[in-house]
């Protein structure tokens, strides 16, 4: 859902400049805010969607969260247990550091890729984009196991490096943090590339030209003009990857070691092995709160987004 929102970001002729320039410049372009009745006109079209979400998403979600304060006995016991235990704090820290590292690496790798797709002739760009999409559509399990084949001690990479005499002990690239970050960054790159590429595609090359005509060095042009213009794509891609990484299960379970347990694995353990749904629900609530807080900051930091714009009106 969020993915389709990114390419849909409005790009009126003025907005490129508005985005690069100050927020006040942007406000001047916008029309006077319409009256309340006008703004809510047509909102009745939302009713089916709201009903659907309410019945099949919000109601079960609330039921789930209630378990956290009702089971096994009513009260905040589950949350107490979650915060009092240093192990769970560590699990939380693991979750954040993995999500952070994955976001960083997929941004570093996804940015040049998105740029390349934008720069190469149109037909080629579409091909590369299709390859990215194809990798996204391949079975997650198959892709994760392939990484295992590549990275393990007796795997392709270690064997090749040892045959070339570069290393004489196999590198430990799997069943630890390294493996998780490699596997997940790879899986997350499409989610960076798609919004970022859409943003880059929409940037008028004339702006960069204008920058260099005005005397900007290539570096200045990149950091002061191009990068700020990419901000909406970077933000929406980065946030999506971060939030998805927080809730990821399969890849960390396969490529990670037990000592790098993340929150989702902890929740699954409580649900499936110990039927301790109260504690699991507390863990899930924590994950939801973290996600909501992040989303709030995203809206604050990213006034160009359609949602953010109407909020900061």
């Amino acid at each position: 859902m969020k993915m389709s929102a990114a390419p849909l970001q409005p790009n009126p002729t003025g907005s490129a400049i508005g985005a690069a320039g100050s927020a006040s410049g942007k406000a001047a372009v916008m029309k006077q805010s319409p009256s309340l009745a006008q703004r809510w006109r047509g909102s009745s079209n939302l009713i089916p969607a709201l009903l659907f979400l309410g019945l099949f998403f919000l109601a079960p979600l609330i039921g789930l969260l209630l378990r956290g304060v009702l089971e096994p006995v009513p009260g905040l016991g589950n949350y107490e247990q979650l915060f009092a235990n240093s192990a769970y704090a560590r699990v939380l820290l693991n979750t954040f550091s993995v999500a952070g590292l994955v976001t960083l690496f997929s941004l570093l790798l996804g940015f040049p890729l998105a740029w390349a797709i934008t720069l190469v002739p149109r037909g080629w760009g579409r091909w590369i984009l299709n390859i990215v999409l194809l990798s996204m559509w391949t079975s997650l399990l198959a892709r994760t196991y392939s990484w295992l084949v590549l990275l393990q001690a007796s795997g392709v990479i270690n064997k090749a490096l040892m045959a070339m005499g570069i290393i004489d002990q196999p590198l430990e690239m799997v069943h630890n943090l390294t493996g998780v970050v490699i596997g997940m960054s790879y899986i997350m790159i499409p989610f960076i590339v798609l919004p970022l590429q859409a943003t880059m595609q929409a940037i008028d090359p004339m702006i960069l030209q204008a920058g260099s005509i005005c005397g900007a060095s290539p570096w200045t042009n990149f950091f002061r003009v191009f990068l700020p213009l990419c901000r909406p794509g970077l933000f929406s891609g980065g946030l999506m990857v971060f939030v998805m990484s927080l809730g990821y299960y399969v890849t960390p379970a396969l490529l990670g070691g037990a000592q790098n347990m993340m929150l989702p694995e902890f929740i699954i353990q409580q649900v499936q092995s110990f039927l301790n749904w109260g504690l699991a629900s507390a863990g899930a609530a924590l994950l939801i709160v973290i996600t909501l807080v992040l989303f709030y900051f995203y809206l604050k930091l990213q006034p160009e987004s359609p949602v953010g714009a109407s909020n900061s009106r």
């Binding site: 235990n85 192990a87 396969l254 353990q269 110990f274 039927l275 749904w277």
Partner: protein, 341 residues
């Protein structure tokens, strides 16, 4: 096991969708297990002959998911009639009131090894955690018992251990530390974790059978704790894998009927058939897991028999399922604390 469950979930969902159309009319039992070769063997040894003899259709479903089982019982919409679960879970679920009591007028209780039968569950099969090692990695040194896991000088390389906080790892650490087999319970957790600390950086954890085989066969781990059936399968494939049965730790899968099952009577008959001398022996001959029926031993394939836990009963230590059913969640908290420390 959790991962295997995921992998096969989609497959079985598809199978079920087609299967459930066919069987609407006749009496039927929904059988749920872990998928893979184990469930194939359960179908071949139990379900197919049972259907032929009784006219009751057995619908294969899966994989086993404890969370799902609890949700079904709580909502009153129970889709599963017979479920293959781990032994400690069977006792925990019974204590939580999630299971139907079994009808021992239908099921022959006195023929079942008493370790593997309770009021709410009858054994599906049993197996042992054994010490397995890669002969190519260890050379001529033949590890004898669990102490070898903690002797990184004589037996270098990574150690493969079962990653879930369930019966096995803590017990073998205590045994290696010199605790007598009959003094294992209640588990001295401090002592167990202290022992495990000495090899913590050398451990690779496995979460499912296929993963354990891959670790050992590839040499990624040179030694470790494995399910006996998986070691046997590797040896059958010609992998250079050795095994020591000394102090083999017995664990079991149990068949249970969720509370509120819609085909309770048929499910009882299915259990009677599965736990019969023939049903158990047929299943063992297909899988290299051990039978829970005491009369099955005579029916075992003579080539296979020396590779089953039944042949190493003297060296056996049965894990205390009841202890784990009661203390499992508390141990898991300690376990997680130790893991991420």
């Amino acid at each position: 096991m959790v991962l295997n469950k995921r992998a096969t979930a989609v497959l079985f969902a598809g199978l079920l969708a087609t299967a459930s159309h066919v069987v609407m009319a006749a009496e039927s039992v929904n059988f749920v297990s872990w998928g893979g070769s184990t469930q194939d063997a359960q179908k071949q040894a139990w379900a197919d002959p049972f259907s032929k003899a009784s006219g009751i259709t057995v619908v294969q479903d899966g994989p086993t998911d404890y969370g799902k089982l609890k949700a079904m019982v709580e909502s009153g919409n129970v889709q599963w009639d017979v479920v293959d679960v781990e032994a400690d879970f069977a006792l925990r679920a019974a204590a939580e009131g999630l299971l139907e009591p079994l009808d021992f007028n239908v099921i022959q209780r006195d023929k079942i090894d008493p370790r593997f039968v309770s009021d709410h569950g009858v054994g599906s099969f049993y197996f042992s955690f054994v010490l397995g090692y890669n002969e190519g990695k260890l050379g001529s040194g033949k590890p004898q018992d669990w102490t070898a896991l903690f002797d990184t000088k004589t037996y270098p390389g990574k150690r493969a251990l079962y990653k879930w906080p369930s019966p096995g790892v803590l017990e073998l650490a205590l045994l290696a530390d010199g605790v007598a087999a009959d003094k294992l319970y209640p588990l001295d957790l401090d002592r167990a974790f202290k022992k495990l600390d000495t090899i913590k950086k050398d451990i690779v954890w496995w979460g499912g059978g296929a993963q354990s085989q891959q670790l050992l066969a590839s040499g990624e781990a040179s030694i470790g704790q494995f399910w006996n059936g998986r070691i046997y399968a590797l040896q059958q494939d010609g992998a250079p894998v050795g095994v020591s049965w000394k102090q083999n730790l017995v664990m079991a899968d149990i068949l249970v009927i969720p509370k509120g099952s819609k085909n309770k009577a048929a499910a009882m008959r299915f259990l009677a058939n599965a736990s019969s001398a023939k049903g158990q022996a047929d299943f063992s001959n297909l899988t290299a897991y051990a039978p829970v029926n005491v009369d099955s031993v005579a029916r075992l394939d003579s080539v296979l028999a020396p590779n089953l836990p039944t042949a190493y009963a003297k060296d056996q230590i049965t894990l205390d399922f009841a202890y784990w059913a009661k203390n499992g969640p508390a141990i898991a908290t300690r376990w997680n604390e130790w893991l991420v420390k």
